[in-house]
Symmetry: C2
Subunit: 351 residues, 2 copies
Amino acid sequence: MASHGARGRSGGRPTLEEVAARAGVGRGTVSRVINGSPRVSDATRAAVEAAVAELGYVPNTAARALAANRTDAIALVVPEPETRFFAEPYFSDMLKGVGAELSDTEMQLLLIFAGSDRERQRLAQYLAAHRVDGVLLVSVHADDPLPDLLSQLEIPAVISGPRSARESLASVDSDNYGGARSAVEHLLSRGRRHIAHITGRLDVYGAQRRVDGYRAALRDAGHDADERLIEAGDFTEEGGRSAMVELLRRRPDLDAVFAGSDVTAAGARQALREAGRRIPDDVALVGYDDSAIARHMEPPLTSVRQPIEEMGRAMIDLLLTEIADRRPAASRGLERHQVVLATELVERASS
Amino acid sequence: MASHGARGRSGGRPTLEEVAARAGVGRGTVSRVINGSPRVSDATRAAVEAAVAELGYVPNTAARALAANRTDAIALVVPEPETRFFAEPYFSDMLKGVGAELSDTEMQLLLIFAGSDRERQRLAQYLAAHRVDGVLLVSVHADDPLPDLLSQLEIPAVISGPRSARESLASVDSDNYGGARSAVEHLLSRGRRHIAHITGRLDVYGAQRRVDGYRAALRDAGHDADERLIEAGDFTEEGGRSAMVELLRRRPDLDAVFAGSDVTAAGARQALREAGRRIPDDVALVGYDDSAIARHMEPPLTSVRQPIEEMGRAMIDLLLTEIADRRPAASRGLERHQVVLATELVERASS
DNA sequence: ATCACTTGTGGGAGCGCTCCCACACTACCT
DNA sequence: AGGTAGTGTGGGAGCGCTCCCACAAGTGAT
């Protein structure tokens, strides 16, 4: 009795109502069983479950979403071009943690790229349509309007990286400051005295914090910071190479380099090689991220490991909590969830 | 007047009805405007569009999905562990093509991994719930039950790679057979006579086809196929290395290697180096995929380029057509869409 | 003037759920 | 006996759309 032309194909998926009829109970009871409500007698539950199995019933997500005003889906938003997503191990590790933590949930994960303006446009539409219950925002840049949009739309969200003061979103971060400190302290303990730093992209909060940590470690050790020992990179190999060239020109006497990422370190290594400097004999090198690159570099690279996978897990935990008590961060006052995970220095032959 | 406790939060999203009231028209008319029906007068359309803009109306996807029985979303299913997804450039190129082709559509793309049994279980649930309008299946293995499941559920789907006889799904493939032929013919034309082949994983159709092409090229050139010149790899670097070691042991006189992928070629190169063979002087090497690895190898690797991005585009085209005329492949008889795109040999210093 | 279309429009019915109120029934106190 | 909980259950109302039927109004042929 399909009244709409487009319906009734595909052999007719069974509905709640049909399951109820089959089990000899009411619609509400079946709904309770499906949703795991405790207020159902064991006998009834068994009868309903049998009917569900016989009919091969699968709930209609659209109907549920409409009635209950939730989608059972969350989005992992990557505000970067896809290229970077695949190039940086950060994202794949993050995805692994997120996926693992989500695997015993009913939640569906969507991956959304928002690198170009056009993609951002689409994303805004998407969020406005409330097609997800929550958002994981990885790699937030300074002045990014996304966090504001999110809290305006009152969509639960968790960002990775440090949170700037004005934002009211929950966040998970690794201790970039401490990680940088430990790298520099390590180099100092190895007797290095002229330690340079190639930064990451400074519009990424984390990179900025690493610079702070670098400065603090030097200051605490009684070294005066020489600005000529700091050069901006951009997380790319080429950026690392050219920054290294520049540093060697300015301070030919440097004996150690702390790079803002492993990829940057790879670029720096190249420049050092070309300049005839041996690693670690002439110049010690330390990277950041402890990615596969670090292990495979020649010589193997000392690097600061971030617990990225754990960060992913933590982000999901926070987000699910946030969704569960449906009160977006903004409206719950100042008390905001912020998790900071420790880093670990992995020592290898390059330092 | 929110009757459900959970509703009416978030400042009340405007509904179709409210837009209709504001524009002084009926519900149906607004729906027609939203969906771009031509049967609306210009004046009315303008009035509705104004109301939409003033109210900031965004259609409720769940309601639409429920009423129209479509989701405006398609899934890109990767039947592989995530690790492989990130490791092989194939997927990122594919994703790029798919994304590009989809960007002027309303369709949402979901990325779903189905590497483990558990993930497959979830996927089956997901598909049974008809949460997507169509599926893109990349990297299908032999005996994979997914294609059958898909046609059973009557979900429009397109697979990448050659289609086995029994499947009724549309497919897009690159010419693996021809690509392999061209690689071998190239090596022959360079005067190589003992050409070995390290295969990909043979449960992947494409890898099998490459073996066929390799054999055919040799046969046509009047060489008798020596099975000792063929060794199975698995698309990994380590697999390529150990296969090469084995080949060198069996046929120390070989003077060329055609590898099933660039990554495999990288492994082979390593083994050749260790054995003291120079590339291309002693042994010529050709890869497959023309990925970034090929360009950066030392020496740069000759490789067969597959138009992966174009494949992604073509898959989307097919799928959207399939969805548009809502008739899944199976029910439309034998005439099935199958697109095969040509490959191109990119010559570099390794051969 | 009549008929036969075509074009534009309004609104009822229905998609398959969830939420919640109402009600029956039991158990245990006063 | 009457009250007061608590427990399990049925089903109405409603979520915000799309589809389609009905109908008004216009257009041209007869």
